[in-house]
């Protein structure tokens, strides 16, 4: 120490105080044995921490391999960026995100601060005699850490307020899939853990400040301490308060000793507990963000050919990355809040699936020896097991994956578990029937392959057969657009648009099979492979430049999943194609529509593939006034048809997601048209409009129909176009037309 004073002799301030004296003397007035005792406690804490970390890593190691190790540096910087900006935390919950930001920043700064002290005191000074923690550096350090501590406390107080008084449904851990009385129904241990975490953390921060103030009072006679007290403003304020209530320097000194030990031991205990408690999210959430898959849910994992059973049956079937994601969950409940199944009372909360599996993994994979195979089964009705009904409730809409602040990927896990259910035949009889139908006929309607393109017969022009001649654009139509009578009208409308714009396009006709997007999300991977490879075979036999589709489901799987099976194509959803055609003047708009509309983002176009803008731009070009619903774009609310749920009947008597959506739209005053751009949406919402009692208030239309309405076709085509006029009369007319087509 003497050396450093000599070497820094030039840094003497004007007041004659030596800069090196402006510092905090560590363990001042401590008996050497007390210091040793503290070090012993410290080492024990570190050992406990390391053991816990080892157990966690051993747990992840018991999962399957995962190929997410690529681009590690890139992943790391992405993670740092997400954490630094708190982007994912501020989304849809600004106050909680900001409060967490304060806690995060406070913790990081205090941790870095403590590390700096350790670096000097335990490493650089004893080894190299290097000392820097004094003078200006020390003063700025004190100020920054004081503010960090203040921020930390403010953040923690907000979190306490939020838990105690805001009564947020998403922070209620009661489970939707369990009954009161079930062992894991209310999950009150989580609530207790939350509070233990908040209290211990805030106590560390508060005692830290009091400790600082006590030291100031105790050393108030020492100018190198007292004169610089304002560099730790919170401590100084408290010191004045302590003096005001009569603390003497000696009294403060005695008080300090006790408080010092309390603060120190509490802090070390906190650190030791990190791997055993929710505090571990500091590491697991960061790692989860780092190993985030940008295509999670959009491109589901393949089942290796040599794998014995499909999907996840045992906890050890999960990959280490899945297991890591489970541990990253902080129970914030944003996924549950966004989940369409949860919103209508289905027995599914994405958070509960994650937590169940986490509890299961912690129970089964943390012991030294793995339990017997039978005890690893994650399907069933036991504690920690996931119900079949829960898994089948999922619409694979990705609302949960989208909003998760720590990049938990719920949907791929759910689908993997469904794969196992499908293999065991544990599914709705109707779904089983549909899968068999798709296998047999290549479409979910059970129609003959020959009828796939029968909608073309009513057109006034021929559509090319892409299997026989080269085309610029190959139109992959999809099941609903091909076979559903209501959607066939839209399909014909799109054909007219393409024809009018002079696009050289063609179809696969009966060579097209169901694209397989939903079959894959149901979990019938074998059938998906069959459909995908058959379609890829058909596509490869054709000569075309790019693919267009009106079906977002087909769009997603061809775009994101076919490449895994050797089919890489340029594919566009029709909205981007038509937008360009209108902009280029190839589809002149003969009139403007003055409708007040709202737009429903299809999951597979919006959230899955970020196609938010093109449909909205088209609506604007058509002259429509677009009023957004509360849940839009990345938070769009699923129509309920995804993940194969269109083939599974919803329970009678409960609200359907589509009806819930209609309620949301109906709030918009003067709404005329509820615009969709997905065949399944059209089916779901036209039905929901009737069943939710808003019929006559507004209508549901495919965007194509609105575009079609603005077109001027040369006669005789015009007659085919169904005029859309927003009036009661025409709504009745539509009903009549439908009833005729039913007879």
């Amino acid at each position: 120490m003497n050396n450093s004073i000599v070497s820094n002799a030039s840094e003497v301030s004007a007041s004659g105080i030596n800069a090196s004296d402006i510092t905090r003397i560590l363990f001042e007035n401590f008996h050497p044995n007390a210091v040793h005792l503290f070090y012993v406690i410290g080492y024990i804490a570190i050992a406990v921490f390391l053991y816990g970390t080892y157990v966690q890593i051993r747990k992840y190691h018991r999962g399957q391999a995962d190929g997410s190790w690529g681009e590690l540096l890139h992943r790391f910087f992405d993670m740092v960026k997400t954490m630094a900006t708190h982007r994912t935390l501020v989304r849809r919950d600004k106050s909680a995100g900001r409060a967490h930001g304060l806690i995060f920043l406070g913790f990081v700064l205090l941790f870095v601060g403590t590390s700096i002290i350790t670096l000097e005191y335990d490493i650089l000074q004893p080894l190299f005699g290097l000392k820097f923690w004094y003078g200006h550096f020390y003063l700025w350090f004190s100020l920054v850490l004081d503010l960090a501590g203040l921020g930390l406390i403010v953040g923690l107080i907000y979190m306490m307020y939020r838990r105690k008084w805001l009564k947020l449904p998403k922070l209620d851990y009661k489970r939707v899939d369990r009954q009161a009385g079930d062992a894991d129904f209310d999950r009150s241990q989580y609530r207790r853990e939350d509070w233990a975490f908040l209290w211990s953390f805030i106590l560390i921060a508060i005692t830290g400040f009091i400790l600082e103030a006590t030291r100031l009072v105790w050393l108030s006679g020492r100018p190198v301490v007292w004169d610089y007290r304002m560099w730790s403003p919170v401590g100084a304020l408290l010191a004045h308060l302590m003096q005001a209530i009569g603390f003497s320097a000696d009294g403060a000194g005695t008080f300090r000793t006790g408080l010092w030990w309390f603060h120190g031991v509490l802090s070390l205990t906190f650190i030791a507990f990190i791997p055993y408690s929710k505090i571990k999210h500091i590491f697991t959430a960061a790692a989860s963000l780092m190993f985030k898959d940008p295509l999670a849910g959009r491109r589901l994992p393949r089942v290796p050919d040599d794998q014995k059973t499909a999907g996840y049956k045992s906890i050890t079937d999960l990959t280490w990355k899945n297991l890591l994601h489970l541990d990253a969950c902080t129970k914030c409940g944003r996924c549950q809040e966004a989940c369409p199944a949860n919103a209508v009372g289905a027995p599914l909360s994405p958070r509960d699936v994650i937590l169940s599996l986490r509890e299961f993994a912690n129970h089964a994979l943390s012991a030294k020896e793995l339990p017997k195979e039978a005890e690893l089964d994650i399907h069933g009705k036991g504690v920690g097991q996931v119900f079949m009904e829960t898994l089948w409730s999922c619409r694979t809409c990705l609302a949960c994956v989208e909003i998760c602040p720590v990049a938990v990927e719920h949907v791929p896990i759910i689908v993997q578990m469904r794969r196992n259910l499908v293999e065991a035949g544990e599914m709705e009889p109707l779904l089983e029937k549909t899968l068999q139908t798709i296998h047999k006929t290549g479409n979910s309607f059970g129609e003959s392959k020959r009828k796939r393109a029968s909608w073309t017969k009513e057109l006034a022009f021929e559509i090319k057969d892409a299997r026989k001649e080269a085309v610029d654009m190959l139109w992959f139509v999809g099941d609903y657009a091909s076979f559903d009578p209501r959607n066939q009208k839209v399909t014909q409308g799109f054909a007219r648009l393409m024809h009018k714009a002079g696009i050289d396009f063609g179809l696969l006709f009966e060579g097209e099979l169901n694209a397989g997007n939903d079959v894959r999300r149901v979990g019938e991977e074998g059938l998906y492979e069959f459909l995908a490879t058959s379609n890829i075979q058909s596509l490869d036999d054709c000569d075309f430049k790019s693919i267009v589709t009106t079906d977002p489901h087909s769009y997603n799987t061809i775009r994101n999943e076919y490449p895994d099976f050797g089919g890489t194509y340029e594919i566009q959803h029709y909205s981007t194609v038509v937008k360009k055609l209108i902009e280029d003047g190839r589809l002149p708009l003969a009139k403007k529509l003055n409708y007040k509309v709202t737009f429903h983002d299809p999951c597979h176009l919006g959230r899955f593939n970020k196609g938010y803008d093109a449909p909205r731009d088209i609506l604007k070009m058509l002259g429509c006034e677009l009023v957004e619903m509360g849940r839009n774009k990345d938070n769009s609310f699923c129509c309920g048809a995804g993940g194969g749920r269109i083939w599974i009947p919803d329970p009678v008597g409960s609200e359907k997601p589509s009806q819930n959506r209609m309620k949301e739209a109906a709030v918009i005053e003067g709404l005329q048209v509820f615009v969709v751009s997905c065949p399944k949406d059209l089916t779901m919402f036209e039905d929901a409009l009737k069943t939710s009692g808003y019929e006559g208030q507004f209508i549901v239309r495919e965007l194509i129909e609105l575009i079609d309405e603005c077109m001027e076709y040369v006669a005789p085509e015009k007659e085919v176009v169904e005029e859309i006029l927003i009036s009661q009369v025409v709504i009745q007319d539509v009903v009549v037309t439908e009833s005729i087509s039913l007879t």
């Binding site: 499908v422 035949g425 089983e432 047999k440 006929t441 003959s448 020959r450 009828k451």
Partner: protein, 264 residues
């Protein structure tokens, strides 16, 4: 312990089908093939016995038909059957249900199973006699339209319930080995995932010729059958008409039609 399950790949009609030039069947192009629905149930019944038994139970599926039948046999293998046998010879073409029964019986003699299951009927031809013909050629006891089965593998008796008219059930004790034709609804057939079907490709399908089972071309085919198809056709459709007019006119018209039918 062995159970032999006789299955059939049946044809379903595509929309707008055409009759073959000789008028005796539908043009092959318009047929969609799949495993007979009844066979899902008889296979499941065999699988239930296999899975609930401590003793080794071998489930063998057998079918008479050309190459395409392998696809249906593979589905059975995917559901858990141990092995499959397919009997085929061009000469078999045109055989009636009795002739097929003779072939199946020949296979059964060779395999010597403890039980033979067949579907009550096939959904395309609906003779409901193949299983019974098999029993006749084997000279084994048989029971048709079995809706419930209590059987311990290896036992010399089984208790079955047969479906009768008017919702009646008949409980029968039958000596084993026996041939049972299984009715729909006796159990819940399992789903054969496509992955399972693909993996079942590794299981053997034994191709058997007539000679292998001690028969010759002279025993089978249309000429050796006791019945032959003369013609297949679509009967003229019944008349339907839309009644129009006011409610009173419509009512009057309906009364007139009813009276005509009554012969008034």
């Amino acid at each position: 312990m062995k159970i032999l399950v006789a299955v059939k790949q049946v044809a379903a009609l595509d929309e707008d089908f055409e009759i073959r030039a000789d008028g005796k069947d539908v043009e092959e192009d318009f047929l969609l093939y799949d495993l007979n629905e009844w066979d899902d149930f008889s296979l499941e019944e065999a699988m239930k016995i296999k899975e609930s038994s401590d003793a080794e139970v071998e489930v063998i599926v057998v079918s008479v038909g050309p190459d395409r039948v392998d696809e249906s046999l593979r589905k059975c293998l995917a559901k858990g059957a141990d092995r499959a046998i397919r009997v085929w010879d061009e000469a078999i073409q045109g055989s009636d249900a009795i002739a097929i029964g003779q072939i199946l019986a020949a296979v059964a003699k060779k395999e010597a199973p403890d039980m033979v299951f067949a579907g009550v009927q096939s959904s395309d031809q609906s003779y409901a006699s193949t299983g019974i013909a098999t029993a006749a050629y084997l000279n084994w006891p048989h029971a048709a339209v079995v809706a419930d089965l209590q059987y311990q593998p290896g036992a010399n008796k089984a208790i079955i319930r047969r479906e009768l008219e008017g919702g009646m059930l008949q409980e029968v004790e039958i000596n084993c080995p026996a041939v049972l034709t299984i009715q729909l609804g006796i159990n819940k057939p399992r789903y054969a995932s496509l992955r399972g079907i693909k993996q079942a490709a590794a299981k053997p399908i034994e191709e058997v010729s007539l000679a292998d089972i001690g028969l010759s071309a002279g025993n089978v085919g249309a000429d050796s059958s006791m019945s032959r198809v003369r013609r297949m056709y679509i009967p003229a459709k019944g008349r339907a008409q839309m009644i129009e007019g006011t409610l009173a006119e419509q009512a009057a018209k309906i009364i007139q039609i009813i009276n005509e039918f009554k012969g008034a």
